[in-house]
């Protein structure tokens, strides 16, 4: 896979992941072009299209479009299910995910994606294993956060 983009029905980019080296300018150009192309398509149309020398696989979930660019020999249907599995992972993690979750917790969306896909290839397909990795990280995070909370608490006291 060369890249993955998440964007809203209004064309706002919510997440971008590039697995090939491109300049910022190229990335912006590709994003603009692709968002336009995909948004122009009608609901019942097929999920695949040829674009430049790549194949685009996309699917819409509620207000969000998930869009992947794959190469000539790559498998379209399995890419469609990569998208679905990613959505399932987000859903499980956030508890029925919505666009807002991804906006406010964009960093988490990236972390989950990194556990699932790396270098454009599927790393781990087991939902359990991916979420286990993220959960562990969250446990570590909570520990540190408690420390901060107590810190600021002490700070407050001092102020009084």
């Amino acid at each position: 896979m060369q890249f993955m983009l998440l964007f809203s029905r209004q064309g706002k980019l919510r997440l971008q992941k590039w697995y090939v080296p491109l300049s910022d300018k190229e990335k912006k150009k590709i994003t603009r072009e692709l968002v336009q192309t995909v948004l122009a398509r009608k609901p019942k149309m097929c999920s695949f299209l040829e674009w430049r020398d790549l194949k685009i696989v996309y699917k819409r979930y509620a207000s969000l479009y998930f869009c992947c660019a794959i190469e000539d020999q790559d498998n379209e249907l399995i890419t469609l299910e990569i998208i679905h599995r990613y959505v399932e992972l987000l859903d499980k993690y956030f508890g029925s995910v919505c666009e807002l979750d991804i906006i406010f917790n964009f960093e988490k969306a990236y972390f989950i994606l990194d556990e699932f896909l790396l270098g454009g290839e599927v790393q781990e397909t087991s939902k359990k294993n991916v979420l286990k990795a993220i959960e562990q990280a969250d446990l570590l995070q909570e520990k540190t956060e408690n420390m901060y909370h107590s810190k600021s608490f002490i700070g407050c006291k001092k102020a009084y």
Binding site: L13, L15, Q16, P21, D24, K28, K42, K44, M45, C46, S47, F48, L49, E50, D53, D72, Q73, N75, E76, L77, I78, L80, E81, I82, H84, R85, Y93, F94, G95, D101, I103, F104, N105, F106, E107, Y110, F111, D114, L118, G119, G120, E121, V122, Q123, E124, T125, S126, K128, N129, L131, A133, E135, Q136, A137, D138, L140, Q141, T144, E145, Y148
Partner: protein, 939 residues
Amino acid sequence: MPAVSKGDGMRGLAVFISDIRNCKSKEAEIKRINKELANIRSKFKGDKALDGYSKKKYVCKLLFIFLLGHDIDFGHMEAVNLLSSNRYTEKQIGYLFISVLVNSNSELIRLINNAIKNDLASRNPTFMGLALHCIANVGSREMAEAFAGEVPKILVAGDTMDSVKQSAALCLLRLYRTSPDLVPMGDWTSRVVHLLNDQHLGVVTAATSLITTLAQKNPEEFKTSVSLAVSRLSRIVTSASTDLQDYTYYFVPAPWLSVKLLRLLQCYPPPEDPAVRGRLTECLETILNKAQEPPKSKKVQHSNAKNAVLFEAISLIIHHDSEPNLLVRACNQLGQFLQHRETNLRYLALESMCTLASSEFSHEAVKTHIDTVINALKTERDVSVRQRAVDLLYAMCDRSNAQQIVAEMLSYLETADYSIREEIVLKVAILAEKYAVDYAWYVDTILNLIRIAGDYVSEEVWYRVIQIVINRDDVQGYAAKTVFEALQAPACHENLVKVGGYILGEFGNLIAGDPRSSPLVQFNLLHSKFHLCSVPTRALLLSTYIKFVNLFPEVKTTIQDVLRSDSQLKNADVELQQRAVEYLRLSTVASTDILATVLEEMPPFPERESSILAKLKKKKGPSTVTDLEDTKRERSVDVNGGPEPAPASTSAASTPSPSADLLGLGAAPAAPAGPPPSSGGGLLVDVFSDSASAVAPLAPGSEDNFARFVCKNNGVLFENQLLQIGLKSEFRQNLGRMFIFYGNKTSTQFLNFTPTLICPDDLQSRLNLQTKPVDPTVDGGAQVQQVVNIECVSDFTEAPVLNIQFRYGGTFQNVSVQLPITLNKFFQPTEMSSQDFFQRWKQLSNPQQEVQNIFKAKHPMDTEITKAKIIGFGSALLEEVDPNPANFVGAGIIHTKTTQIGCLLRLEPNLQAQMYRLTLRTSKETVSQRLCELLSQQF
């Protein structure tokens, strides 16, 4: 599972994001962002040291701003600081920022690499994971330099955790893709292959991707992966749907891994070991069988995953192209999908069938679906699906169904989407030409194309119809009649006027007997369109008029009146004006004989690859245009470059005429003979480019090409739409070295790229060739080089064959060309006096020693070119030796490992008869024979 409280860790960030979302306008948003940037900047620059939490928060805000599409030019240092934090979340945000925002310049790379190094050495799996993710995400060359040695060690170390192994495998894959040269092959490779046997399916999944990529470039080294992949696949496809627990996806066992394993197997030919092969066939059969079973779930995920595996299996079957039974089953399965209610499946079935159509085993089976595909063309609502249907019709077309398919495409063209019209036009034009049984049908088809979609008919298409009509005299009369009728329409497309003008100018006489299409009627018809046309078309019509003057003397005065009118002679366009002036003069000054010679019928065009086909290929994949043009230029300056067919000018140039200079005929005749230069810069290159671009292996063109190399050592040996082969070689005495350059003209990688040198039995003992295999992957637009060391052991006649096999897209390509290593390459020139020459000549008077050939000149008999060719052939050119100064004599020695053979040659041109007599005398009969053959082809 924690609920949505993950943002709470950074309240400031959440507030900022809310603020941005509440902005009513773009300006308000920018204002808010600038305020925040200023705030962050001051915090970062402030005297007070920031704690880790604040740094993390601000870095995260910067990241958010960047992702909104704004440029970020600071904060990198703070992010790098976070990397060395002991707090996981700080480190994590630091890495995220680096992954998204780092550019490979700056001092920072060293600091980043240091932090990564520490994390990799930490033996903390979570930290190692973060570090590996970062390398994989950035994937820069600097990172490859720093870690390409370390990552393989982590990957194969016995005590590495599974999750770290997975990251390491894909991290290595990313590094190998960016900098294959920096990833050292070694012991680890064999251990990586054995990861296919790993207990942990996640590890196998990650490793399979890595192995596939490595195997594409080093097939030999990873050969053992085939049997391992087959047995793994077999275990998966035969497992019950619950066996694999969390790796089962909607009742499909490990679909991602199955697809990856099937991809890996496509790097190799069918397994040689019958047991492995049998097991693989069983797997593929099982997959095909499962497609017929009732679905275990109604969910689309179930059918998608199942069919993903099925399509990949079909790709493998097509790739192997060896089991007719499986191919036909695959075709039937796809046939079912053609009528499936899921648009996605119909799309993929059409796409996959396209490759199936090119296999001889399944071509017929594909053809049985023609009606369904035609129906898809008419009823599919999605243009991308219709496009696939057009592609498939094109792929399944052959002589038996060409008329039907062309008719359907033509009728689709009337309503086709504008975006794909030009491509359909090209496809129709190609099919009509390729499968024309009767050329009248071809002419009708092209005229229909112009009628239906004139704007989309590119120049190549109408040039081509003219080339074909000129080359086939059986269709000329029909063509003239048909264009004449088509031109009757009150409004016709300008392209029709061009074709009509050109064809009537050449063949109008064939229909002039009928009073309804008498010369004057023809002229008036064409001239009625004149004022509505663009300048290039008008220029073409003027050329038609001067041809009419020659063909039909009775309309001469009418045409002269037209040429003489102010609107022509004083036309603002310089090209039109010049033509009018020159043609008018030509019609008054030149005698009928001269006129007839100058305006003679066009000679046939040399046969070569259709320019339309080239254009379609170009549309599909950009080629290395600059390279191409370079070689073209090189060819045209090289005197040894051989035939430069210039049909248009030969008749005029060789006609001495007292009025020639006056009229500047040198320039003018090109115009009436060829289509107008002003409209056809591209055409001239096209029509006169030499016939080197042969499509098929050992096609007629490639033999010409071989001949071109007899007298020269460098140039383009072969070229088609995918591949270009260039040569550079040098020879000294009995040794030589040849550099072969393989250029990938497409933007797609060639895989399994294997050039092989083949010497026929007899040649093997006479010619010693040594070379090393080349890299099996040739990237799009890249060129690879192969060196061949050559030793001539004894004299030889045959030439070695260079066979190239590779995979491009899904298809297997096979090209063979003769490699121009010829006996004369081992010539060393010898200078000698006239006396010596004739003394030796007499010594070699044995009948076996002399071979003579009398032959007709194929090229203009030019003294300088002939001299250059003899020198290029390798012998010395001896001046003032032959009593007749028009003759050429040469001398030299052929060096072989075993002997040296003295050779004398004499070439006697006969200008009047346009003939040559070539005599070779050497001490060895076979040498005389071969040298005479080789040199005779050159003149």
